[in-house]
C-alpha cells in the first residue's frame, strides 16, 4: 500500500483506515478516495513542513477486530503520524484502545451517538446536538410543518438507540406525549419494509401531522425508501428525515417518488458557495468521474485534514503527542462558507442544514442554523451525561464531572 517512490525519511505518513470490502465498503470507499485526493492536493502545495505526505491505505474489511489489528499495524509498523478512518461507531470503539495505547491520532468523520471524548480521537462528524436535535427543531417549526407525532425508526444498534433515547427525552421535554411517539427498530440490512411502512402510514393517519425520524443505517435504506415510494407516502403527508442518507446513498435510488423527504447534515453538495464548487470540480477531476457526488463525511475529512495540517505546522512536527495538543483552537474553513473550529472537547463547530430530496438525487437546503453549532460530546438530555464535560485543554479530561468536580468520577 505504501507508494514506494518516496523513502520514509522525507515523508510524513498518513494512515487511511476505511473498509474497502465487506458491508461498509459502500460508504467507506469514498472516504478513502477523499483522503487520497486531499493528500494529493496537499502534496501539490508542497506537502507539510517541507515534507511530502504519503498515504498508507489498508483494508479493515468491515471486520471490527481487523480494524484494531490494522490500526496497530499502521501505527507501529508503518509509523503513520495520524490516521483518518472508521465509519461505524463499533469500529471506532474497536480501535480506540489501540490509539490510546500507542498514543496516536484518529480523525473520525462520521456523525455518531456522542457520549465519548478521547484524547487521541478528533470527532469531525456531527454529535447528536449537531444533527438530530436541530432536525427535530426544524420539523416542529412552522416551516417544517409543525409536526406533532413522531416515528423514531432505526436500525437496532447503539447509534440509533442512543440517538432515539436522546430525541425521546428531548421531545418529551418539548411536551410531546408518549402516545405520539412510535419507536421502531429493525435488523441490519432489513429489506422487507412492507409492514413497517404500513404501520407508519397508520400511525400517521390519526389526524395529527406526523414525521419519521430515521436512524436507519446502511443497506436497509434503499429498500426502505423504495417501499415508501411504492406505498405512496409523500413528503407532504409524512416527511421522513434521515441522518444517514446522503448524496452517495441517493445515487443508488430512484429519487422521483422521494421528492421532499429530508436529511439533516452539516454539508450538502448542493450548497452554493465558491469553496464548495471548487472542491466539487477538483474532486470530479481527481476521480475522473463527472457524476461522482460529494457528501457530509467527506467534508468532515476535508475539515479534519486541513486542521491536522495546520496543527502540524503550528507544532512544527508531526509527532502525534504534540499535534494533539496543538489541535484544539485550530480553525479551518468548511465547505458551507463558515470556519469550523476544533474545540477543546475534540469536536468541531459545524452548521446544521436541512435538505429536501430533489428529483436529481441532490438536496435542496430548506433550512439552516444561524451560526455554527459547537459539537457536544455529552448530551444534555440524558441523566448520566448531562453533568459531564470534556476539555482537553484546561481540564485535560474527557469526562469531567461538573457536580463531583472530578475527572472520571
Amino acid at each position: 500500500a505504501t507508494s514506494a517512490a518516496l523513502s520514509a525519511q522525507e515523508t510524513i505518513k498518513v494512515g487511511i483506515l476505511h473498509s474497502l470490502s465487506g458491508t461498509m465498503a459502500i460508504s467507506e470507499t469514498t472516504l478513502k478516495d477523499t483522503m487520497l485526493f486531499l493528500i494529493d492536493e496537499q502534496n501539490k502545495k508542497g506537502g507539510v513542513l517541507g515534507k511530502k505526505l504519503e498515504a498508507v491505505v489498508v483494508d479493515p474489511a468491515s471486520n471490527w477486530p481487523l480494524f484494531a489489528e490494522k490500526a496497530r499495524e499502521l501505527i507501529t509498523k508503518d509509523k503513520v503520524s495520524a490516521v483518518f478512518g472508521c465509519w461505524t461507531s463499533v469500529s471506532r470503539k474497536s480501535v480506540l484502545p489501540v490509539f490510546k495505547e500507542l498514543n496516536s491520532i484518529l480523525f473520525y468523520p462520521v456523525q455518531y451517538e456522542g457520549e465519548e471524548s478521547e484524547r487521541n480521537v478528533f470527532y469531525t462528524g456531527a454529535a447528536p446536538n449537531q444533527q438530530a436535535i436541530p432536525a427535530v427543531d426544524y420539523l416542529m417549526s412552522k416551516d417544517g410543518g409543525e409536526v406533532k407525532r413522531w416515528v423514531l425508526a432505526g436500525t437496532d444498534y447503539v447509534y440509533p438507540r442512543t440517538t432515539n433515547k436522546i430525541l425521546e427525552a428531548y421531545l418529551k421535554s418539548k411536551g410531546v406525549a408518549e402516545a405520539d411517539i412510535m419507536i421502531n427498530y429493525t435488523p441490519f440490512g432489513h429489506s422487507d419494509w412492507q409492514t413497517i411502512v404500513s404501520d407508519i402510514k397508520k400511525f400517521g393517519s390519526a389526524g395529527k401531522k406526523t414525521a419519521v425520524v430515521s436512524t436507519i443505517n446502511g443497506d436497509a435504506n434503499v429498500p426502505f425508501y423504495k417501499e415508501l415510494g411504492n406505498q405512496g407516502i409523500k413528503a407532504t403527508d409524512i416527511p421522513v428525515v434521515a441522518f444517514s442518507v446522503g448524496e452517495e446513498e441517493l445515487a443508488g435510488i430512484d429519487t422521483k417518488p422521494l421528492l421532499g423527504h429530508l436529511a439533516a447534515w452539516n454539508y450538502f453538495q448542493s450548497v452554493k458557495n465558491p469553496a464548495n464548487e471548487a472542491f466539487i470540480a477538483k474532486w470530479k477531476e481527481f476521480t475522473k468521474n463527472p457524476k461522482r457526488v460529494t457528501n457530509d463525511p467527506m467534508e468532515a475529512h476535508v475539515i479534519g485534514f486541513a486542521m491536522w495540517v495546520k496543527a502540524v505546522e503550528k507544532a512544527g512536527t508531526a509527532d502525534p503527542d504534540k499535534v494533539i495538543d496543538a489541535l484544539p483552537g485550530i480553525e479551518a474553513p468548511n465547505l458551507t462558507g463558515g470556519v469550523s473550529k476544533m474545540l477543546p472537547n475534540h469536536h468541531i463547530t459545524k452548521p446544521v442544514l436541512i435538505g429536501e430530496i430533489k428529483a436529481d438525487g441532490q438536496f435542496d437546503v430548506v433550512w439552516q442554523t444561524k451560526g455554527l453549532v459547537p459539537g457536544d460530546a455529552w448530551t444534555d438530555f440524558l441523566p448520566g451525561s448531562k453533568d459531564l464535560e470534556a476539555d482537553w485543554v484546561t481540564l485535560k479530561c474527557g469526562n469531567y464531572n461538573t457536580v463531583t468536580k472530578k475527572c472520571g468520577a
Binding site: L20, S21, G22, T23, A25, I26, E28, T29, T30, K142, D143, G144, G145, D156, N184, Y185, T186, P187, G189, H190, S191, D192, Q194, T195, I196, S198, D199, K201, K202, S205, A206, G207, K208, D219, V222, P223, K226, E227, G229, N230, Q231, G232, A235, T236, D237, P239, E248, E249, A251, G252, I253, D254, P257, G260, L262, E356, A359, G361, D364, V366
Partner: protein
Amino acid sequence: MVLAALAWLPSAAVAQAPIDAALEKLTTDSYSDTIDAIQAIAVSGHPRAAVIIQALQGGQLAFSAAEKKVYVRVGNGLQEAGSGAATAAVPADLADVRANNRVRGIVSAAMGTLTLLNPDPARRLEAAASVLKSRDVASLPALEQALGRETDPAVKAAFAAARAAIVLNKADASDNERVAAIDLIRKRGGQDALGLLRGLPADTPKRVKDAAEAGAKVVETQLALWSGAQNVWYGLSLGSVLLLAAIGLAITFGVMGIINMAHGEMVMIGAYTTFVVQEVIRAHAPGLFDWSLTIAIPLAFLTSGLVGVILERTVIRWLYGRPLETLLATWGISLILMQAVRTQFGANNREVGAPSFMSGSFDIGHMSITWGRLWIIVFALAVFAALILVLKRTPLGLQMRAVTQNRSMASAMGIRTPFVDALTFGLGCGIAGIAGVALSQIDNVSPNLGQSYIIDSFMVVVFGGVGNLWGTLVGAMTLGVINKFLEPYAGAVLGKILVLVFIILFIQKRPRGLFALKGRSVEA
C-alpha cells in the same frame, strides 16, 4: 380559505386583478414569500392563476431575481407568468421557484379545490382525497357545489366523505349533522375514517363523541380483519422474494448438492445486468424504459447462466463427489465475484428504476396492494412453474436429475454428463440471475446484494426439504407469512429471531425439512 373563492366559481368571469406584486414576491427565494404569493394569486381571480400554481407544483415556475420577473416553463421555452407571452430572451440568473413541503402542501390543497370540477374523474377523486386530508372548512361551498353536480358514483361517495370530514370538524355544525357525518364516515371505513372519528376536537358534545367512538369501534374491528388479510399478502410477497432468491439454489444446492456459496453473487450479477440494461436504455432509447425489465430478464439469465457454466467447467466439475469442498471453492468464487463487481462498478449502490407498471399501488377493500409486489409474486410463481416444467417434463430435466443422482451410471447410460452438469449449474445460476432482476426492484444493487440473501436462501431450501422444489415454494411462503404475522407483535428484530428459532424447532420435528424426500435410499 381564500382559495375557495376562486375554486367556487371557476368559470365565472372575475375581474382581472393585478398580480404583479404577488409575482414579485416569488422572486425573493423565500418560502414565506412564496406562500404569501400563492395565496395572493389565488384570490386575485386572475385567469392565469391556475396555470401559475400548477406550474409551481410541477416545478415549472422560474424567476429572475435581477429582473424581478417570473416565468412559466413550457416545453423548452419560457412564458411570462403574468401575461402568458412567450419570451425569447432567457435571463442569465434564471432559477426555479423553490418549494418545500409546506409550500407543496398548500399548493396541493389549492390544486385540490381547483380540480374538484375537473372533467377527468380520476383527478376529481384525487381532489376529493386532498380535501378530505385538509378538512378545510373553506372548501365546503365548492365541495357542496361539486357534490351536487357529480354523477360518477365513486367520486360522489368520495365527495360525500370529504364533506362529512369537514362537517365533523366544523365548529358551527349541529349535532345531528355531525352524527350523520359520523355515520357516513363509519360506512366508508378505513384508516382515514378511524383517524377522523378518533381525532375530534376536544370541545365536541358528548353525544357526538359517543357516536364517534361507537363508529370508531366498528371501523376498528373491520380494519383488524383487513389487517389479517394484509399480513397474509405481505407474507406472500415476502415469501415470493425468498422464493426467487432461493429457487436457483434449489437447483445448484438442492438438486446438484453443491453448497453454492456464490449463489448470492449470481443474484447480484442479475441485478447488475438490470442496471446495465437500464443505463443503456437511458442513454440510447429512453422510450423503452418501461421494457427495461422485460429486456433484462433474458439477459440476466444468460449472463448469470454463462458465469455459472464457466464456473462449472473450470472449478465445480472437479469437485463432484466432494460436496463439502464445493463450499470452500464457491466461497472463494463469491469473494472474487464480489470484488470484481466492486472494481468494475464501484462499491456504491447503483440506481435501478421501476418501470411505470411496477410503481404505485391500488386498493382492494382496505388493503393496499403495491404493483411492484404483485408483479414480483406473479413473476416468482411463473419462474417456479417454468422450472418445474423443465425438470419434470423435459428429457433434459430427466437427465439432470439422473446425473446428479448417480453421475457415473448416468454416463454409462449415454448421458453427456459434462454437458448436463454445466447446463444444470448454468440453469441454477441463470435463475438466480433472474431473481436479481426482481430484487433490483426492492433492494440495493450493490456488491453486497448477494450476501444478504445467501443465508435466507439456504434456510428456505433446507426448511422446505433439500431436493424438492415444491418444498422450496411452500417453505418460502410459509416463512414469509410467519414472519409477517410475528412482525407486528414482536417487532422486526425479535420476529426474525423467532423465525430462526422456529426453523430450528421445526427441523427437530421433521429432520429432513417440510417436504422430505422419501424412500429407502434416503433413509439408509
